[in-house]
Amino acid sequence: MTELIIASIMTIMTAATPLIFAATGELICEKSGVLNLGVEGMMLIGAVFGFAAVTVTGAPVLGVFAGALAGIFASLIFGFLTLSLLSNQVATGLALTIFGTGLSALFGLEYVGKTIEQIEPIHIPLLTDLPIVGRILFGHDPLIYLAIAILGLTAWFLRRTRAGMVLRAVGDSDYSAHAIGYPVIAIRYAAVAFGGAMAGLGGAYLSLAYTPLWAENMSAGRGWIALALVVFASWRPSRVLLGAMLFGGITILQLNAQAAGFGIPASYMSMLPYIATIVVLVLISRDSTRIRLNAPACLGRAFRAER
């Protein structure tokens, strides 16, 4: 029984990690006032370029970097259009997802069916071998620790640092921030690029650690679930972890239930994460004052400094 619980926690963490990466990135991006609906596209781009880098070089570290860099590249297209050319953020984000789906499918053609070595869980002698807590604390793959570390740093950055406060100011009142002298557009570019790097990492986690292969559209809506997670978390990093684990749990529950049978058709079980996302959105959004209090006030609005 304990073995089963430990195994469940371990797998829940692997399912939650891509969501933690992507949602943390989007959270920072939205805190600066920019809504990037291209997370799904950036994840796919990160997944395919990360996978390609490992196939070519054999070095997982390079794959992780390639995924993040590809995500940054993709996010900067979005940034240029929305921040420099003042295009509509919703439409541009959708374009980024369509573009990312197409680009990853095309670039990934020659990688379909190839295999790479999976990023393995760490093993620290003595610590990992501790009963029960050993594997839960010291037995994950390195990227899981990276995801949690970045999430923690993000929380600290937003709450405790001056730069984090400036970022929030830009997202809550862009014209005031500009009037005081902060470079609104430059700060938003940085936030967008961070979002891209994180989505790319989330994608790379999928193709390097979660299922070590490349398949067209392999993110299967996780980018959109990450967007919902940011709302669920009321734009607070600490709640991102909770939400991601919840969704990871549902994913694993669905997989296990399929394996166990139960007589419920597999397709219905596969709907669970998507339906759960809708249910969670409804529960959170019901309280419209809470959303209004927590959402960055300038979210989705274009900013242009008047001469």
Partner: protein, 363 residues
């Protein structure tokens, strides 16, 4: 010594420029073709031949033209519906799910009365298709109006649910019992198939509906108060509220129009080119129609033209796959690039590039 520095800067236009609004799709398409040439070059294909196959060849034969119009049909129908919603600032991006839901509900008569020869079955299917799409769109509508849930995310999540529901039905309860276990329903009876217009070509009654409908919608929007309300609601929500245009009503109406048209497109697709339900009935029409709506400037007639333009790249993509060995995925990449260029050029509808001269003293 003062330096003269010519600089280009943006100056906001008092009203959006109409000519720039219609010029930017053309510019976007041209630049996409140029970018496409570069991509083909990188892939080691002759850009001239590849571009010809993609953008010209589908238009050089009657059968090619027929295929383009058949493909454009669902894109136009969905695109028209989406443009009405986008105009009002309601972001229904789950049209793909509404398309599937319409195909599912609309096909039910043909599947349950598979020997029917009753001519009324076809109108019934069309009606059910519209209702199916509306029903699927009603979920984000009710969740948005009652619980304030974001319609973008809800409608999108429902795409995945609809896809899984379709797969479940064609593999299980609705599977053809004489189909040797292959996923897919029975073939529809002749009475449940939309009539083909010219023998030898696939162009059918549904294609005509798709071509005529945008003109009707254009007329309706131009002549009714509702058309005006949509415009006001999208551009000035506060003014709209003062004018008594209810937000909830606007959300419901636009989602019902978008969902209904997507559902109609779904049942038309099932009862024409496919003739049954299979696990995958759409190559992403619902998402491509988002591009169609923007490329068509959120105008019904624009959606008609844009739907045809995008359909050319679909058919060209199929041709390129067969004759030049170019992967189908190129089409998806093109669609993303078109939208990027379009959004970039849209800057020119709202701003004007002006040359200013700054005198700077060099010290």
């Amino acid at each position: 010594m003062p330096l003269e520095m010519p600089l280009l800067t943006l100056e906001a236009r008092a009203t959006p420029s109409a000519s720039a609004a219609w010029l930017s799709p053309l510019l976007a398409l041209t630049l996409t073709a140029i970018t496409g040439a570069a991509i083909f070059l990188v892939m080691g294909k002759s850009p001239g031949i590849a571009l010809y196959i993609y953008f010209i060849e589908p238009l050089t034969s009657w059968s090619g033209l027929s295929e383009v119009l058949v493909k454009a049909g669902p894109l136009i129908l969905i695109g028209v519906g989406l443009s009405i919603g986008f105009r009002a600032g309601i972001w229904n991006i789950g049209a793909e799910g509404q398309f599937i839901a319409g195909a599912l509900l609309g096909s039910a008569p043909a599947i349950f009365f598979y020997e029917s020869a009753n001519p009324l079955i076809l109108p019934l299917m069309m009606l059910l298709g519209i209702l199916g799409g509306m029903g699927w769109a009603a979920i984000p509508a009710v969740l948005k109006t009652r619980f304030n849930a974001n319609e973008i995310l809800v409608s999108l999540m429902l795409v995945y649910v609809a896809e899984l529901l379709l797969i479940h039905l064609v593999q299980g309860p609705w599977r053809n019992p004489q189909g040797w276990g292959f996923p897919g329903t029975r073939m529809f009876p002749d009475a449940a198939l939309l009539p083909v217009l010219f023998s030898g070509y696939r162009i059918h009654l549904g294609t005509i509906i798709a071509i005529v409908l945008p003109l009707l919608v254009w007329f309706a929007l131009a002549k009714t108060q509702f058309g005006f309300q949509i415009k006001v609601f999208g551009s000035a929500p506060l003014a709209a509220r003062h004018a008594g245009i209810g937000e909830k009503r606007m959300i419901w109406v636009t989602l019902m129009i978008g969902g209904g048209l997507a559902g109609l497109a779904g049942v038309i697709e099932a009862s024409s080119t496919i003739g049954q339900l299979v696990p995958k009935i759409s190559p992403g029409y619902g998402f491509t129609a988002i591009i169609v709506a923007f490329l068509g400037r959120l105008h019904p007639v624009g959606a008609l033209l844009a739907g045809i333009a995008i359909a050319v790249t679909y058919i060209g993509g199929e041709g390129a796959q067969i004759s030049a060995g170019l992967p189908k995925a190129v089409t998806g990449l093109f669609q993303g690039i078109i939208l990027f260029y379009l959004l970039a050029f849209d800057l020119l509808t709202r701003y004007r590039l002006t040359r200013i001269t700054i005198s700077k003293s060099a010290t």
